[in-house]
């Protein structure tokens, strides 16, 4: 199964960075005196120009990351780091599953997050700062005099060695994907080959995200369903799994509902009515929400309902609904308080249908 992982800019950025760092390393170590390749003078010229190009790319990439929110990919998390290390140390040999998956909104596994963050926060700025210090503060000038080039060169050289070590490890780790070359292929084409399970995991997280976005808009804006549609569409585009997401969602769309403080339906949309197998929307208005559940699960829903009335937001990965004809369906549920003049006057929510077969596989829960 192929999933779209890397956007055009990311791939451009990545390979340009590869070219620049490789050139910097090749010329840098020539300057360092390890070998003769370009000729010293050429090497210095290339190193200096490449450094400028690198700086430009960094600025560009920072801008991109912040305008697109991609920077969140690098937020370090210690969750699962142990598992990830364990995977590389033992699991990989026994054919265990990756403990973490490449997800669009979690492209990097926790170990990668740490290493890339380290790379970006430590090595690269250190290289850039020490590099430009090397370039500009080596001779006395009016403003600032560096006592001796030595420490700067030491930091720069040490950083260069770390980068080489990183590159070796990084290139090797790319071969631990679904197939040895699938990660590299993904970085070229954008599409990564994944196992069925990984892909589903990804779809799941994708939906969670779209719900969050939808919810956010539902709380703050009037035109709710438009925003929900938009969020879903955006998600699909990002995923590049338009049809598959629809498969998973069984084509039934997202349902929207609103309850008053008693738990009576004030408003539902057409998709909601369809999911619950009502002919028309009017049939359900004014009825109590108790009819949407079996008796057993209603108690839980009631508890949640009260929580939302007290101001909380509730998200259920997977719930079972009782339809009008007595059949059973599965959906995700998000409930948020409905406010007016700063007072909670009801509860509103979004449900997204899950195909029964899928649902059994997707062990969805709130955490």
């Amino acid at each position: 199964m192929k999933v779209y992982i890397y956007k055009g800019f990311e791939r451009f950025w990545h390979w340009t960075q590869v070219t620049l760092i490789v050139m910097l390393a090749l010329t840098g170590f020539e300057i360092h005196g390890f070998y003769e390749l370009f000729g010293y003078r050429e090497a210095v010229m290339i190193h200096d120009r490449t450094a400028w190009a690198f700086l430009a790319l960094i600025v560009f990439a920072i801008f991109w990351h912040f305008t697109t929110g991609e920077w969140k990919q690098y937020i370090p998390t210690l969750n699962l780091v142990k598992e990830q290390i364990g995977y590389y140390v033992t699991g990989i040999f026994t054919g265990a599953e990756h403990p973490t998956n490449k997800l669009v909104y979690n492209k990097f596994n926790p170990l990668q997050r740490l290493i890339y963050l380290g790379l970006k926060m430590l090595v690269i700025p250190v290289m850039v700062i020490s590099g430009f210090a090397y370039m500009y503060l080596n001779y006395p000038n009016d403003t600032f005099v560096l006592g001796n080039l030595g420490p700067v060169a030491a930091i720069h050289t040490m950083g260069a060695f770390f980068l080489i070590v990183f590159i070796i490890a990084h290139v090797y780790l790319t071969t631990t994907g679904h197939k040895p070359l699938s990660s590299i292929q993904a970085m070229i084409t954008g599409w990564e080959e994944m196992s069925e399970l990984e892909a589903k995991e990804m779809v799941k997280s994708e939906m969670e995200y779209s719900l969050k976005v939808a919810k956010h808009h539902l709380i703050t804006d009037k035109d709710r369903s438009a925003f929900l549609d938009e969020a879903l569409q955006e998600t699909e585009e990002k995923l590049g799994v338009k049809n598959r997401l629809h498969d998973v969602l069984s084509g039934s769309g997202a349902g929207y509902f609103r309850l008053d403080t008693n738990g009576d339906y004030i408003e539902v949309n057409k998709a909601w009515a369809n999911l619950y197998k009502y002919e028309t929307v009017e049939e359900i208005i004014g009825k109590n929400f108790s009819l949407s559940r079996s008796e057993k699960s209603f108690a839980q829903l009631k508890g949640n309902f009260d929580q939302v009335l007290s101001g909380e937001t509730i998200e259920h990965g997977l719930v079972i609904r009782k339809c009008q004809d007595g059949s059973i369906g599965y959906h995700t549920l998000t409930m948020t308080p409905f406010m007016k003049d700063n007072k909670i006057i009801g509860v509103q929510g979004v449900i997204i249908n899950i195909d029964r077969d899928n649902a059994s596989k997707l062990q969805w829960d709130n955490e």
Binding site: L20, Y40, R49, F161, I188
Partner: protein, 542 residues
């Protein structure tokens, strides 16, 4: 297909563009050996644009159309038109043979010059003036009684003769040889040519190119291989083109005597301080003298003296006659009067930090360090111009180091001044009598200095910053001449600072290489295990 084109345009094309930009060869930065670029200069008119207008034809002046009896009469004739010029000359150190300067590293201001200082060639003039002053611009300096205020004793001709006929005599207190046609000579006068300067400055130390190593009679008429400025097939510049002169004050310093950083003739005067088309090369000029790269070797036409060992002097043939031995190139390697020499040609300079100030060993100094530093050129990497007498920072300079072994007083720990020359036997002059003790007694008494009565020979070193025999750009030093880990890199011995490409920190090297090796080993082991266990490997669940 569309996707491939898309991938191509976002991945391959940018890489190609980036690669082309960063590896672009600036044609300005490359020295084109075929077509030398026109070099931009200021404060100088290029040969092609020079107009040689004769300002005055001295042969038309009546006062010069006489049979001069004495050379002093020529001087008086000169001064009859060039009135008051003698004041300039009598203040000039070509006349005074001393200058009042502050010695670097000392508080005292001293009056120091050829008159009273020592080197590790012929040591010093005291007691031997009559022959040494052949290079003095005066007549009659036989001994301490010479009257420096007598204007007729100025020798105008040695500098201004253009006939090539004017020759000063040996051992004649600065007088010219007998029988010169001073009439013709005096009518020939003009601005000094290389031959005028060279007659003294090439021949210092008793032979051609002996002292400086970069001042050689061959430079009267040389190719670009010897000196790019003076080459007759090039700009054909005279000495005074750079050593510009105003009121007889000539720009330029010889650190055999000078101590202060002033009135120097510099490259930047014409070439500016940003002469290269390359920013990094121009930056190099902040800490590296132009000479360092552009004088890759000296003594390019004739050998120069590198070592002079006085301690072997005095060996004579059985018949009492003097020994002259020469090496394969025809350079003396032994003379009875002077001892043993080593000459060399095409010498690679030594490199030191130099800020333009110097100290000198005085005859009154007690020696604390062996080899004795006859002159000390000041400077260090850390001297960035704010912590010394010099306002400019120290730069790396190429120098000739002349090593000597010369008489000293091991009891008083002082360099001694022997009397070397006399026209007569029995006058205590070493070059005639070959008796060190007597010559030192005579020389020290003449100089009013104490002598313990015991002498020995001590090793000495003298530093000569190089300025001449500049090479063409394509023959100048290249990056890797210094930026190299080779032990014979030009700056291999210049320590105390970090030079990229030469210096490494061992611990970083070890840690870095170790980490890289560990990473490679890790990959090999980890990957190896994966390959071996392939059947179990990776998502492989059939």
């Amino acid at each position: 297909m569309k996707r491939i084109l898309y991938i191509f345009s976002i991945l391959v094309i940018p890489q190609f563009i980036v690669y082309m930009i960063i590896t672009r060869t600036d044609n300005q930065c490359i020295v084109d050996t075929e077509l030398p670029a026109e070099i931009e200069v200021v404060n100088y008119t290029k040969k092609a644009d020079q107009k040689n207008i004769l300002v005055a034809d001295h042969s038309k002046f009546e006062i010069l159309q006489q049979e001069f009896e004495r050379p002093q009469d020529v001087t008086l004739a000169c001064l009859s038109c060039h009135t008051e010029r003698h004041h300039e000359l009598m203040a000039n150190n070509h006349w005074t043979w001393d200058r009042t300067e502050k010695l670097a590293g000392r508080d005292s201001v001293v009056t120091l010059g050829k008159r009273n200082m020592i080197n590790n060639f012929c040591i010093g003039i005291n007691g031997s003036e009559k022959t040494c002053v052949r290079c003095h611009i005066g007549y009659g300096w036989e001994d301490k009684s010479f009257d420096f205020s007598k204007k007729e004793n100025i020798d105008c001709l040695v500098c201004h003769d253009q006939s090539g006929m004017y020759i000063k005599a040996k051992g004649a207190a600065g007088y010219p040889v007998e029988g010169l046609n001073l009439n013709i000579i005096s009518q020939s006068v003009g601005s000094p040519k290389r031959e005028n300067c060279g007659i003294c400055h090439y021949w210092g130390g008793g032979g051609n190119n002996v002292k400086h190593g970069d001042l050689d009679k061959a430079m009267n008429s040389c190719s670009k291989d010897v000196d790019i400025h003076m080459a007759i097939d090039g700009e054909d510049m005279s000495c005074v083109a750079c050593h510009t002169t105003e009121n007889h004050v000539i720009k330029g310093k010889a650190y055999a005597f000078s101590s202060e950083n002033k009135n120097r003739a510099t490259c930047t005067h014409c070439h500016t301080d940003a002469p290269h088309n390359d920013k990094i090369l121009n930056q190099h000029g902040d800490r590296i003298a132009c000479q360092t790269c552009h004088i890759p070797e000296y003594a390019k036409a004739n050998s120069t003296k590198m070592v002079w060992d006085w301690s072997t002097a005095g060996r004579l043939n059985e018949d009492g006659s003097q020994i002259h031995e020469a090496d394969a190139d025809g350079n003396h390697n032994y003379l009875s009067i002077k001892g043993t020499f080593v000459y060399d040609d095409h010498v690679k300079p030594d490199y030191i930090w130099f800020n333009g100030t110097a100290d000198h060993v005085l005859l009154t100094d007690s020696i604390t360090e062996i080899p004795v530093q006859i002159n000390t050129l000041m400077g260090s990497y850390n001297d960035k111009g704010d912590n010394c007498e010099s306002t400019t920072c120290s730069k790396i300079w190429p120098v000739k180091i002349h090593r000597g072994k010369q008489p000293w007083d091991p009891i008083l720990k002082r360099i001694v001044q022997p009397k070397l020359w006399s026209p007569n036997k029995g006058d205590s002059a070493y070059w005639v009598d070959f008796d060190w003790n007597n010559s030192i007694v005579a020389g020290m008494r003449y100089s009013d200095l104490p002598y313990s009565g015991e002498y020995d020979f001590v090793e000495t070193e003298m530093y000569w910053p190089l300025n001449h025999q500049v090479a063409s750009a394509d023959k100048s030093l290249q990056c890797v001449d210094c930026h190299t880990t080779d032990n014979d890199g030009r700056l291999a011995k210049l320590e105390g600072f970090y030079l990229p490409g030469r210096d490494h920190y061992d611990f970083i090297e070890y840690i870095g290489i170790l980490l890289v090796l560990l990473a490679v080993a890790g990959v090999v082991i980890h990957g190896g295990i994966r390959i071996v266990l392939r059947k179990n490997c990776l998502h492989d669940k059939k």
